[in-house]
Symmetry: C2
Subunit: 168 residues, 2 copies
């Protein structure tokens, strides 16, 4: 049964509820105007219909990637598998260390692409819809590539998981 | 390594890539102007920052729930656990059978609330941002309730799962 235990502060209510929600893990990359690669881990990437093929994700306009992604025409959206656990952590930590390894290369549209992910989508920016200090990204899928199959990487209760071996 | 196998059709690229992405499962409900409960299963619900506490989800403007949710002031967003597997299926199938059981009741803001979920958030509608025949919902969390703890319900590869027993 539901308990009236989240009424005191709506911000705490959001955090407590979403801790119980699972989300897929993605890495989003772009190329800055000086040619350097930029990217970050995101847990809000989702589809916005397939005809036309549209994707969304949410981002803080205070994030280090914001100046780049809000001034580019294309982004690369990477789907992560269990084998990308380290990549997910790396792309959420010190931003000066995110592109030091040789696990990526410049690819379509001059975008930095991590090579061992389960899939990548190349997306044309349609708009960033501003909401408070955040933005909802809306973009058109242009093309994509599939990598090796792997269990999906997901985030739940402040930790990374894969789905259980068998479906319900 | 990535293969150039999704370039032919961007809609197919989106579908193939998102099949490999995991998503949390939610049920979203509202009350129609005639007082009847309306709801559906959603796999696109995500947080848009916690200060202020905002949530988003994506919806087709052709869906059966659209006339109701686009004309209401509040929605209830339910986080689902493994025990809500049947609820997730029911709320994605025949819409005339979604509220026949006694697993829900009218609650805050006159909203239909399913009682055995892991959490529910009461959300004030801020806007539906239209994109093609779809819409991105943006709303403010007003309050919430926690239910019993349960493993999160997630959707991946066209099936329902829970996270594995142990984190990575």
């Amino acid at each position: 049964m539901l308990e009236d235990n989240l009424n005191k502060d709506p911000s705490d209510a959001l955090k407590a509820a979403f801790r119980r929600h699972a989300s897929g893990v993605a890495v989003i990359t772009a190329t800055a105007q000086d040619g350097s690669p930029v990217g970050f881990t995101a847990t809000s990437m989702t589809s916005l219909g397939s005809n036309p093929p549209l994707v969304t994700f949410n981002v803080s306009r205070g994030s280090s990637a914001w100046p780049t992604i809000s001034n580019t025409t294309h982004l690369a959206l990477h789907m992560l598998g269990a084998g990308n656990y380290g990549l997910a952590q790396k792309m959420a930590e010190d931003r000066t260390k995110r592109f030091l390894d040789s696990d990526w290369e410049f690819s379509e549209f001059g975008l930095p692409v991590f090579k061992d992910v389960t899939a990548v989508l190349f997306v044309k920016v349609r708009e960033f819809h501003h909401v408070e200090q955040n933005a909802v990204f809306i973009g058109d899928v242009v093309s994509g590539k599939l990598g090796a199959e792997d269990k999906a990487l997901l985030y739940n209760q402040r930790a990374y998981f894969t789905p259980a071996d068998t479906a319900l």
